[in-house]
Structure formats: structure tokens, C-alpha cells
């Protein structure tokens, strides 16, 4: 894939890239289908029940039948909703979730765009999702939607600040925003060891960004019905769900690249295992952690939620930046 990058841009190349991007899209959709299946299965096992097991062998076709059902359902739009914004919101929520994958290095060779500003690109695009949420909440003209959308937006922007700041420590150590350079810099030791504080902040803030438990207040079904997507039905609703899981895919790859050494093996002696397998193992571990947390943690209380981001995570992230900068200066002999 990297050899294509060096050729002059031409129509055939654009076609190649498009086909590769469609292939990645199919991989991501396959991931989403079976991530939902495994989520239900794993949580089922943790609660001592079998989970989905009726549609197809072992219930493997459960998600596919769910998606088909959503496709065949009528798409209602409330009379009082803002028509244009109501249509726009699912697109705004989904598009950035997929577009961030353009810069992700899965291995040394399997990568799409090799941007010098990789981290910045990810962070800039992923914050557009908030727009989709707030637009959906507003356009529905529904009281639950509006409150749910506002809460979601407040939560997502509050946790974005510590999320973005926890990465600064890594950039200090690497001296580059390029995701490939960040992986190469982890040859000796993964970033999770020297940047443990940053890792913890990133992990917690990422949960809140993804709206997953224990931060799933936006979808608090017991108090807000379903939050910002109450009025959405059929495939528009499916787009919001899809965006959530594609975003989880993106966050998983990002956390593997930033903190867990990307495609690098645990120990150099294990490098006979192909790099993509290493990447998938680490990525799967993160995805499993998500399901595990969902089965374990109770939901945060709304009044504790905002305080936690500003009073705990933000100071810790700032402290981590100063500490990292100090240690680097110390190692350089206060030059």
C-alpha cells in the first residue's frame, strides 16, 4: 500500500484507494455486526444466561436479522421536527466516525493515509460527532431528545478536554504527531509504562466520549427514554448505533497505536507472529474490556459526571504533562 503513495496521483490510483477504502468499510461493518453479537453473548455469560442463540447456529445471524428488520421498518418523521436538520443529524454523527480511520496504521504496511498530523486529524474529526448529537436532539422537537442531546453534548465536550490532553505526554516523548512515528518510538517499551497516568485518563475519557458505561447517561433509558434519538426509527436510528460502534473501532485502534505499541510484539523473540495478528489481539482485548465494564459498572450520577471531568481528570492530565516535560528536561541535563 505504501508503494501506491509514491506514484503521481492519477485516476487509476484514486480507483485503487476507493476500492481499498470500501474493503476497510466492509471489514468495519463486519466488526460492528459481530461486536454487537459478542457484546450480547459476553454479557449474557457474565449474567449466567446463554445470550442470543436462536437465529442461525449459536445465534450468529442475530445481528444480521436485526439490521434487516431496521431496514424494512417504516421511517417516521414527527410533523413538528425540523426536516432538514433531522435528516442531517445521522450523517453528521456517522461520517466522522468512519473518516478518522483514514490515518490509522494497522501495521507497517497496511495503512491508508500517512499524515504528519495524524493525531490532530483524529481529534479534530472525532469532535464533529458532538454536532450530530446536538443536532438530533434539537431537530426532533421532543423534550426528552432536547434534554438528552444537551446532556450528551455537555458530557462529550467536558471529557474531550482531558482526552486530548492525555495524549500530549506521548507527543512530548515522541516529538511527532505522526501515528507511525509514535509506534516506532515504542520499540523498547510501550507507552503504557512511562505514560501510565495518561493511559488511565485516556481510557476513562474515551469511555465517556463513546457514551458507554459507566458513562452511558445520554441513553439512560430509565429517565430519558433513549436520549437524543427518541424520535429516530428505522435506518436513521441504525445510523446512530452504527456510528457508536464504528467510533468504538476507531477508539480501539487509536488506543492500541498510542499506548499499546501498535503492531509490535510483546517481546522481540515473538516477532514470528505476523504484526496484524498482534494488532488484532490488542484490539480485541480493548473491545472485550468494553463489554466487561458494561456488565460490571453501574451508571454514573448526572451531578457527579461533570465534576469528575473538570475536578479530577483535567488536573491529573495537566500534572501528567508537566511531569513528562520535567523528566525529559532532567534526562537532557537541563539543557
Amino acid at each position: 500500500m505504501s508503494s501506491w503513495l509514491e506514484q503521481a496521483p492519477s485516476l487509476t490510483n484514486v480507483l485503487h484507494y476507493s476500492l481499498a477504502a470500501v474493503a476497510l468499510l466492509l471489514v468495519v461493518l463486519g466488526f460492528v455486526t459481530y461486536a454487537i453479537y459478542f457484546e450480547r453473548k459476553v454479557i449474557g455469560w457474565m449474567q449466567l444466561r446463554p445470550g442470543p442463540n436462536r437465529v442461525g447456529p449459536l445465534g450468529l445471524l442475530q445481528t444480521i436479522s436485526d439490521v434487516t428488520k431496521l431496514l424494512l421498518k417504516e421511517d417516521t418523521r414527527p410533523k413538528h421536527a425540523d426536516k432538514a436538520l433531522f435528516t442531517l443529524a445521522p450523517i453528521l454523527a456517522y461520517s466522522p466516525a468512519f473518516a478518522v480511520l483514514a490515518v490509522m496504521p494497522f501495521t507497517d504496511t497496511i495503512q491508508f493515509a500517512d499524515l504528519g498530523v495524524g493525531v490532530l486529524y483524529y481529534i479534530a474529526l472525532s469532535s464533529i460527532t458532538v454536532m450530530g448529537v446536538i443536532t438530533a436532539g434539537w431537530a426532533s422537537n421532543n423534550k426528552y431528545s432536547l434534554i438528552g442531546g444537551m446532556r450528551s453534548a455537555a458530557q462529550m465536550i467536558s471529557y474531550e478536554v482531558p482526552l486530548v490532553m492525555s495524549v500530549v505526554g506521548i507527543i512530548l516523548m515522541t516529538g511527532s504527531l505522526n501515528l507511525k512515528d509514535i509506534v516506532y518510538a515504542q520499540q523498547d517499551v510501550w507507552n503504557i509504562v512511562p505514560q501510565f497516568l495518561g493511559f488511565i485518563v485516556f481510557l476513562i475519557a474515551a469511555q465517556a466520549e463513546l457514551n458507554r458505561s459507566p458513562f452511558d447517561l445520554p441513553e439512560a433509558e430509565s429517565e430519558l427514554v433513549a436520549g437524543y434519538h427518541v424520535e429516530y426509527s428505522g435506518f436513521r436510528f441504525a445510523m446512530f448505533m452504527l456510528a457508536e460502534y464504528v467510533y468504538m473501532f476507531g477508539m480501539g485502534t487509536l488506543i492500541v497505536v498510542l499506548f499499546l505499541g501498535g503492531w509490535l510484539p510483546i517481546h522481540p523473540s515473538l516477532d514470528f507472529i505476523p504484526p496484524i495478528i498482534w494488532f488484532i489481539i490488542k484490539f480485541m482485548f480493548y473491545v472485550f474490556l468494553q463489554f466487561w465494564l458494561r456488565a460490571t459498572m453501574p451508571r454514573f450520577r448526572a451531578d457527579q459526571l461533570m465534576g469528575f471531568a473538570w475536578k479530577v481528570l483535567l488536573p491529573v492530565a495537566l500534572f501528567n504533562i508537566m511531569l513528562t516535560a520535567f523528566v525529559i528536561t532532567y534526562q537532557n541535563g537541563f539543557m
Binding site: 509514491e6 476507493s18 477504502a21 486529524y121 465536550i157 490532553m165 427518541v230 504533562i321 508537566m322 528536561t329
Partner: protein, 123 residues
């Protein structure tokens, strides 16, 4: 090198386009061929737990959201300054460290002020 640069952004454009294309195609082109469309006035009412909705929902809501948005803007801009500083840090040395200490202390003062003013409490 220029070709690599151009190609990278071609790929980014393709990803953005594909990201828009999937929801548009599935909701507006493929969807209408498959799903029924029989709107009734009851179906199109706004959901309010089965009751007839009272009034409009575009009403005033808690001002706290606005204050959090302001705080977010301040700290996000700060992060924008931290990124180039972090990239160039190894070339700048002790001088950059001291400067950023001053910058962060100023911002933490702002955070502490908001904290004391009970902006960070919810309700």
C-alpha cells in the same frame, strides 16, 4: 515527496466521501425501495410517553450547559497551544519548560476560580 503528500489527502477525501455516502445511500436511496411508507397523523406526533404533547419543546433550558461550553472553548484552545509546544519540545529545552509552566499555572488559576465560583457543580 509531493506525490505522497497529495495522495495522502486524496485518501482522506475518499474516506470523507465514503463516510457521507453510506448513510445517504442507505437512508435515501436503498431504504425507500424496501420499507413501507404509510404516514398517519398519530404516527407523526411527537413522542411524549403516549400523551398528547404539551406545547413546543424548543424552550429555555439550564444555563449551565452554556457555561460548560465556554469552559470547553477556553481549555480546547489551550490544548491547541500545547500541541506544537509538545512536538518541538526536544529542540527548545529548559526555556520552553519554564514558559509552559507559567502558561499552565495561569490556566489552572482560571480553573480554580471557576471551581470556587461553583461553576463545576451540577444543580
Amino acid at each position: 515527496m509531493d506525490a505522497v503528500y497529495a495522495n495522502n489527502y486524496v485518501i482522506v477525501a475518499i474516506f470523507l466521501l465514503l463516510g457521507v455516502l453510506l448513510p445517504v445511500a442507505s437512508v435515501s436511496i436503498i431504504g425507500p425501495m424496501l420499507r413501507p411508507h404509510r404516514p398517519t397523523p398519530e404516527k407523526q406526533t411527537t413522542y411524549e410517553s403516549g400523551n398528547i404533547p404539551i406545547g413546543d419543546s424548543w424552550v429555555r433550558f439550564n444555563v449551565k450547559y452554556y457555561i460548560f461550553a465556554l469552559l470547553f472553548v477556553i481549555f480546547d484552545v489551550e490544548t491547541l497551544f500545547l500541541y506544537p509546544w509538545a512536538v518541538a519540545y526536544n529542540q527548545l529545552g529548559l526555556f520552553a519548560f519554564v514558559e509552559m509552566c507559567i502558561f499552565i499555572v495561569l490556566l489552572v488559576t482560571g480553573l480554580l476560580y471557576a471551581w470556587r465560583k461553583k461553576v463545576l457543580e451540577w444543580e
